[in-house]
């Protein structure tokens, strides 16, 4: 008679995580943005190609929000180790140092940079389409309930984003934060025909009885609304970095 081997302890299933969006937010020195565009378009983007940094999926500037004046762009990566190696190689390139020195002339143009790694939200696919985008884009970083982050993405997909779409908003992207800030926060990027359409929708979203009832129901269930304390940046896409619908590549 043989003894049956002890069953191994149950483990969680393997995961495959290989789709990342790098959000780079540059808080500019006031008055130093205009020639920064020349540096990015003329020097940085060609050097990105040399070092394996992909072309940005979108490039924006913003003058309204917590980091303005703001220069922002998004890169897509399949491997964060490749991302680390590419940026290290880029920053070590003497051509880049020379271009920066020529542009800055001893006076920096960027005050601070805030670099976050995001992952696509599981609900993003529900909002992808190919209609052309308007000229006002809105980046929102939501403070979300940490206890069960999936609830927030469901709420966005079922309540908030359809509400905004019904008022002319287009969803460019829905993300969850992964590195660089509080993790599991929701990030949304929406596009609008113009700023007035967005303002009207924002007012409606903040005062609509149905939305308010949803938030009250969340307070009853979770002790707080699923979404709160959102940071909002109003952005204008830049001609040399115009995003495709759904931030599609190419």
């Amino acid at each position: 008679m043989t003894t049956a081997p002890l069953a191994p302890p149950p483990l969680a299933p393997p995961v495959q995580i290989d789709d990342f969006y790098e959000l780079r937010l540059y808080q500019m020195v006031p008055g130093r943005m205009p020639a920064f565009h020349d540096l990015m378009q003329g020097a940085a983007l060609p050097l990105f190609a040399r070092h394996g940094i992909p072309r940005p999926l979108g490039i924006w500037e913003g003058h309204t929000g917590p980091l303005s004046p703001l220069y922002a762009y998004v890169l897509r990566w399949r491997s964060l180790d490749a991302r680390m190696a590419a940026w290290k190689s880029f920053y070590a390139d003497p051509d880049w140092s020379a271009a920066v020195a020529a542009s800055y002339q001893g006076r920096p143009r960027v005050e601070r940079s805030h670099i976050f790694i995001l992952r696509p939200s599981p609900v993003w696919d529900r909002f992808r389409d190919d209609a052309p985008l308007g000229g006002t884009h809105v980046l929102a970083l939501h403070d979300t309930l940490n206890n069960d982050p999936n609830l927030v993405h469901q709420a966005l997909a079922e309540t908030d984003l359809p509400f905004l779409e019904a008022r002319g908003g287009r969803v460019l992207g829905v993300f969850a934060t992964w590195f660089g800030t509080r993790m599991n926060q929701a990030v949304t990027l929406t596009a609008w025909e113009d700023a007035d359409h967005w303002v009207a929708a924002s007012r409606a979203h903040q005062t609509d009885p149905g939305i308010l009832a949803t938030r009250d129901a969340e307070r009853g269930t979770h002790g707080r609304p699923l979404l709160r304390g959102t940071d909002v940046h109003v952005l204008r896409p830049i001609a040399y970095g115009m995003p495709n619908p759904g931030l599609r590549e190419g």
Binding site: P9, P14, V15, R112, H114, I117, N146, T181, G223
Partner: protein, 253 residues
Amino acid sequence: MFEFRFYAVASGRMASELALVHDMAAAGAPEVPGGPPGAGETLWHRYGVPGPLGSWIAHSGRQMPGFLYIIKWDSLAQRDANFPRFWTDPFWRARRAQLTDGMTLVDSIETWLMDPLPAWERLAEPAGGPVGGVHELRLLPVVNGAQAQAAAALEQADLPALMAQGARLLGLWEVVIGPNRPQFVLMLAWPDAATQARGWAAADADPAIIARREDETVRHGRPVYGVADSWLMEPMAFNMPAANLGQTFGGAK
């Protein structure tokens, strides 16, 4: 790559958070989910998650009550293949449920990626055992474009002065993925809180450091460091950090 994790623990939940972290990263994993600790490997080891280099609670700083730890990864592929998988682990879920009764344990988790600065290795101590006392984390925003000067100032002026006052260097990094860059992260160990307070007061009045700051102001329009965010921390007995947080810097030290 060093991953720094800051937990804003829900008010009144620190004891539960410490118990959970202890049971996952320090104690032997139970035989069945929700069971008593076993005698073998930790639950983290089952998933290939390295033991954190140190675990701390904060006594000062923002978003108190705070719990912090640092993990060193060989690669981010290793990290993402192992750590997120652990978050759906049935043992972890069972223990968390026991400790929290379904209520929120942590309000938010901030996670940064950091690279060591070369000055850390040059100032490192000989390898040594657990470092007690009071630990201090300082987040140092650096004037953009002055990173090299800021690192040199730390290495040549600020850290020697603080070490002369009784500080030991535990770690020094630059934030790669995170907010408010360029930003350095400095971790010190002090024998006690009174020495820490005296040490900073003395460094702040040190003529050599004052002269350095004045020179920086001439060159950059202001000192190369902005206003620091400082956290006074207590290392947890179940995971006391070693000298240099256990880094051997290629075995040379």
